[in-house]
Symmetry: C2
Subunit: 390 residues, 2 copies
């Protein structure tokens, strides 16, 4: 039974979209090592991606799960595939310097005659340079084609069922932020705060159990927050310091990341000014995020609003989100930034990220939104301004 609440028809649609794109690119076979893509097409769920595994889609002839022997029962339990569609590589290949699970995959492809028009996800955490070299040596470089993002792009427009899961994830995110606001206080060691926030996301709300998010809480304070991706430490929270929390609930692997900034005591004038600019940036970007607008046009709203207030942001200001596994909850397809001319479509979802990092502090106020004819609609409801504590 798949871990996720999707109908067979929904999986069929996903597969058809994927196969149509394969056909368009002349691919016969697609080897998907990205656990998010594996899950999206089959429902597969498990922390087994630290060893090689893949879902293999033939453009006509079947969908296979391939992985470690001890993970095959997990595939039987979580996917819609039949037992005949599951196959495993020999255990001796686990993290061995002299041979590789992909040796087995290459032989399996050869024995099926699947030796040309093979798409691989060349820029993915779970498809290593070594894996690729094995396939290249066995099948020839000409047999392989880069298909990074092929499935990620099919995931961009969410179904109704997916949106429902993302809104549920958003309820979990809101519960986490509630605990954050209610618990943060001067003197509380940050790791204790993070422990409670994370527990709130997992405990969830009645009827909604939390799963592990693809990124752990990012929670830097004061000058630490000049850096973008520090996690937490054991320092007590201090009056006069800002901490931003980039966190997400996760429901059946779907995410709804939202960042908020806490300030212990009244924020300094410059940070208040930045807050005002960021709130304007969020409002402007949401208003602009209608079907037909480009990613770069939405991004420009952010850069402009910040620029009018004298703040410069040089990093991308958002990206597509949805189903994901560590280490990234982004979908790695669209980015809200200059040069991304992708047109928004209804029911695409983005994490709008107008974070500002200065040498002295960081300020992050973000929203995950769905594209609607009326603009970007946040998928959860969390007070947006700097939370002033105490």
């Amino acid at each position: 039974m798949p871990a996720q609440d999707f109908t067979p028809a929904e999986y069929e649609t996903r597969l058809s979209r994927t196969r149509a794109e394969m056909a368009r690119r002349g691919l016969s076979v697609l080897i998907l090592a990205d656990p998010s893509n594996m899950a999206w097409l089959t429902g597969y769920d498990g922390w087994s991606f630290y060893v090689p595994q893949a879902v293999i889609v033939h453009v006509r002839d079947g969908v296979l799960w391939w992985g470690r022997t001890m993970d095959m029962p997990g595939a039987a339990q979580t996917t819609w595939l039949s037992d005949d569609d599951l196959f495993d590589w020999p255990e001796a290949h686990v993290q061995h310097p002299d041979h590789h699970p992909f040796d087995h995959l290459a032989e399996s492809l050869q024995s099926r005659g699947w030796t040309a028009g093979i798409g691989v996800e060349m820029d993915n955490y779970y498809y290593s340079a070594a894996a690729h070299r094995v396939l290249e040596r066995a099948l020839g470089a000409g047999a392989l084609q880069d298909a990074t993002g092929l499935v990620n792009w099919q995931r961009a427009v969410k179904s109704g069922a997916e949106l429902a899961l993302m809104r549920k994830a958003g309820q979990l995110t809101a519960a986490m932020h509630r605990v954050l606001r209610e618990t943060a206080r001067p003197g509380l060691p940050k790791h204790e705060l993070v422990a409670r926030v994370q527990a709130a996301g997992l405990t969830g709300v009645p009827g909604l159990a939390g799963d592990y998010p693809a990124i752990v809480p990012i929670a830097p304070s004061a000058r630490e927050a000049a850096a973008a991706h520090l996690t937490w430490n054991d320092k007590p929270m201090q009056p006069g310091e800002a901490t931003y929390f980039e966190i997400s609930g996760c429901y059946q692997r779907y995410h709804c990341p939202v960042s908020r900034t806490l300030h212990l005591g009244p924020p300094p004038a410059e940070m208040k000014r930045a807050e005002e600019a960021v709130l304007q940036a969020v409002a402007d970007a949401l208003a602009a995020a209608r079907p037909g607008a480009t990613c770069e046009a939405v991004a420009a709203c952010v850069y402009d609003a910040l620029g009018r207030a004298g703040f410069e942001k040089t990093s991308r200001t958002g990206y597509s989100v949805g189903l994901s596994y560590p280490p990234d909850w982004g979908e790695r397809s669209m980015s809200l930034r200059p040069g991304d001319t992708t047109e928004l479509q209804e029911n695409m979802c983005f994490h709008l990220m107008p974070g500002l990092w200065t040498p002295e502090w960081g300020l992050a106020i973000t929203e995950t939104f769905v594209v609607t004819p009326d603009g970007g609609q946040p998928l959860t409801d969390i007070p947006r301004g700097i939370a002033e504590i105490g």
Copy 2:
């Protein structure tokens, strides 16, 4: 300031060991994309590994951190490197289909004249096939040499300071298991139990704050536990069911994974028999794990003890552990399995994993131990038998 409590002399030793091995292999430059290796050599810490980054070691001329602009302040805060040793790739390269951060790295290597004898970690989550192709095209395949595991192997024998951190992680693991035994009860939804266990690991014990482990709790119940790497769900725990928990505390990125099995009510006779065999396997393997014994000899103790009781285990039964980042807390060097003839040395650390998976249930009772002249010494103290609840 490095996030970890190591002296400059300890980092010096690590670097010397690494450079000696580079010299032995004829490498001038080593590009380390594995965040564990980056942290071990420089202290770098941050959830930034979802984009390309590396520590670059020249065999004589310096150590550099390279990453995304917004993560450079994090490198300044967490490493012992000077600001001159940090450099960044242009933000426009973030997850872009047409160009890649490694384009920038290739140019940087060329501008330094570092164009031959370059080691890369070909079989690592954070060195993609695409990254390798960029370097190959820019520098020629002959310039690159596979150095997967080069640093991982230097990490195998732990220093006194590292062992102290692993024992602290073990205290966190023990706190997690204590909460597990005290909280599990029939009817408790499993995600609520996991939330409390995870919070216990983060909240820690007085003076010890928890960090995020490299693997989230693995916690399958009853027939789910036939699969090796399922995480959790919202089902209430049932009388008559076993659940095994593979969990680890994490202290300053060091781990001490320990699995235990809970049974709600008295376990069936066959599971008790399996427990007895597994306890014997653990005892025999620990007794054998002295300096000079081989990995396969220690593993044989496990297979033999299980075999004498009529249980067959075909998977590896342990691996080297220590400092790590997701998705694996193993060090990916030594494995306790047939064919691994590595000789144990004092102060190596292993997660001994004699897990048994049957079609009907799974049983996991594991220990993380340090090799001493008297045999393997567990790094924490947690009641070993099946915990019978209620």
